[in-house]
């Protein structure tokens, strides 16, 4: 070959189709924003996003049906992306969560019509000063921010890449690709815009800080192994690199690079899942962000970040498991205890759910530290179960409103069960699933992760986990008692009748919660088959 010749990269288009469809649709969405007249943007974006995510889900199912998750799993895209069981399973969950989130984003029956135009829960003109003349003008003109749909698609695209990343460069790009749209989406609330902007600033600064740590960790791991590919690093950690040169010989004995680098990368991922001590952003961002965004972020980011963490720990760093296992034990215990205990003192529904998500990050970590195939499949199942419960719970929060918008203070929820028993009943179902009561998906998930942890000898972790679940059950049940057994307030909030969009979200989440709770076996088997990483 002449030096000037380039060999075209060999891309497996079929294997990568789930994410490629989403990127393509996101770019088309941006073009619609740029060129289409304002009144067709909303229907065009909603249809485009829905179709793209449905097509992407179909692609995931097609790949899984073609045994690409089990016997035919492969490393695609010149060694940079893994198409295997865990990545396909998590991509399926993420795409479904994204699809359902589109419905939440598109809901236009909750806010009162502004000057005859139906509006959603996003700011009319995000750049305008809250309460200023420009904002009034935008509201009068009936403007809406339809850019949320391409932003959602880009975030979903990053999340699809994150658990599939098979080298450190893709890991970093995927992290940024999923984070940057989320920072923007956090800032776009129609009501309480100062809170929303504050949430965006906090999320952005802390997120950028965490990704800088992740990047420096990547630099150190690269320095240690001389390669950014996962398999290459694993070989160097195991002590048998593919080729040994002078540079590698001088760095691969340096465990400080490996341990500090691995710790910093892990720190970046633990920040994304919101585990203690990297959880500080969670309550503020969950509270301030528009509730549909909170639901999407809480559900999908956790799935993607745990997927990336599993692959990093199980594929790249299994050789150092004696170093990272005790650390993750500590993080898991701290998350479970701190999340459950602090949640008791919360008075805001969204903050309560935020602390509960911190506790759940701890429960999932208990499955991660098991370091077994059971551990992987239990985490996969837990993530699928948890993401739908979370999405459903936040969808319910969008419906309980008073004149000032969503009524998120817990005291306002008193007696909700007497006014709208159906909605309060569904919310109670989600809370019971969070608490891990039998016959809900939460129980099956918790049982799976704790059994995997116990089988790997982590009894202490399981005991703390069960105790933390008991503490957590206390405040979930307290909310249920508040909804059903206290007198409604005279000026309390009312439940808005939503369009079929939000109704279908809540119904789907409730069905998934019940099905995964009553008949989990099929899905446990599915997760069990998907538990092997391609090497």
């Amino acid at each position: 070959m002449n030096p000037g010749d380039l060999t075209a990269p060999d891309i497996e288009w079929i294997a990568l189709s789930p994410s490629l469809i989403v990127y393509g649709a996101a770019v088309v969405g941006i073009l619609i924003e740029a060129f289409a007249p304002r009144r067709v943007r909303y229907p065009a974006e909603v249809v485009l996003a829905t179709l793209a995510l449905a097509a992407s889900f179909a692609a995931v199912v097609g790949l899984a049906a073609g045994d690409r998750g089990t016997s035919k799993s492969q490393v695609a895209g010149m060694g940079s992306l893994a198409v295997d069981g865990p990545s396909l399973f998590l991509q399926g969950v993420i795409v479904l969560v994204g699809l359902v989130s589109v419905f939440l984003f598109a809901e236009r029956r909750l806010e009162p019509a502004a000057h005859g135009a139906r509006v959603d829960s996003f700011a009319a003109q995000p750049a305008a000063v809250p309460g200023g003349a420009a904002e009034q003008e935008a509201i009068r003109a009936g403007h809406t921010t339809t850019e949320i749909f391409p932003l959602l698609l880009f975030a979903v695209g990053g999340m699809l890449l994150f658990p599939a990343a098979n080298d450190l460069l893709v890991l970093f790009i995927a992290l940024e690709l999923l984070s940057l749209p989320l920072y923007l989406l956090c800032a776009l609330a129609r009501r309480r815009r100062l809170l929303s902007q504050e949430a965006a600033v906090k999320y952005f600064l802390l997120g950028a800080f965490a990704s800088a740590f992740l990047l420096f960790g990547i630099a150190l791991l690269y320095g240690y192994a001389g390669t950014v590919s996962y398999s290459g690093i694993r070989d160097v950690v195991a002590g048998n690199p593919a080729s040994l040169d002078a540079g590698l010989a001088s760095t691969m004995g340096n465990d400080a690079l490996l341990l500090i680098g691995g710790a910093m990368v892990l720190m970046g991922l633990l920040f994304k899942v919101g585990a203690v001590p990297f959880h500080m952003w969670t309550p503020d961002v969950y509270q301030g962000a528009p509730t549909p965004v909170t639901g999407f972020m809480a559900a999908a980011t956790k799935v993607a970040a745990f997927g990336a963490m599993l692959r990093l720990l199980y594929v790249v760093l299994p050789g150092t498991r004696w170093d990272w296992q005790p650390v993750l034990w500590g993080v898991a215990i701290a998350s479970m205890v701190a999340g459950a205990v602090i949640a008791i003192t919360q008075t805001d529904v969204k903050r309560l759910l935020a602390y509960s998500s911190i506790a759940h990050a701890g429960f999932i970590l208990a499955g991660v530290v098991a370091v077994s195939e059971d551990g992987v499949s239990s985490v996969l199942f837990y993530l699928a179960a948890y993401s739908f419960v979370t999405l459903g719970a936040f969808a319910v929060v969008t419906l309980v409103r008073d004149a000032g918008g969503e009524a998120t203070h817990l005291s306002q929820w008193a007696g909700l069960g007497r006014r709208s028993p159906l909605l309060a009943g569904v919310f109670a179902l989600f809370l019971l699933a969070f608490a891990g009561i039998p016959l809900t998906s939460g129980f099956a998930g918790k049982f799976a992760v704790f059994r995997a942890a116990a089988d790997s000898g982590a009894m202490g972790l399981v005991i703390v986990g069960v105790l933390a679940s008991a503490v957590a059950a206390f405040f979930y049940v307290r909310v249920i008692v508040l909804m059903f057994f206290s007198e409604p307030k005279a000026d309390g909030p009312s439940v808005v009748i939503p369009s079929p969009l939000t109704m279908s979200v809540v119904a789907l989440a409730a069905v998934v919660t019940l099905v995964l709770g009553i008949a989990p076996q099929y899905f446990l088997d599915l997760a069990g088959q998907a538990g092997t990483f391609v090497r």
Binding site: A127, L168, F172, L195, V201, F204, L205, F209, L215, V228
Partner: protein, 99 residues
């Protein structure tokens, strides 16, 4: 010259940036400190690339520059938006959600 010295410089820059994020109060300065951390990582990547004699680290540094540029776009948009509504760039003022 021994390339290891560049690694010490990069660790120093990273630490300066991290301390800046933790200690300073102005959003813009915080953001500059984050950029400093990213560039410290770039320096480390390029140095390791030189030590190992392959190009992975240098290619990665290019990607980091692009990502940092995208981050500036998003970050400054958010910061300017907040400054417009609050007339302040101090992170201590952003405390509406403090209990």
């Amino acid at each position: 010259m021994n390339p290891e010295n560049y690694l010490f410089l990069s660790a120093l820059l990273f630490t300066v940036g991290a301390c800046g994020v933790l200690l300073r109060r102005n959003v813009i300065v915080l953001f500059m400190c984050v950029e400093l951390m990213l560039n410290a990582a770039n320096l480390a990547l390029v140095t390791f690339s030189r030590m190992h004699g392959n190009l992975d680290g240098q290619i990665m540094a290019f990607f980091v520059m692009v990502v940092a540029a995208a981050e500036v776009v998003v970050g400054l948009a958010i910061i300017v938006m907040v400054f417009r509504s609050r007339h302040s760039a101090s992170v201590d003022d952003a405390s509406l959600m403090k209990l």
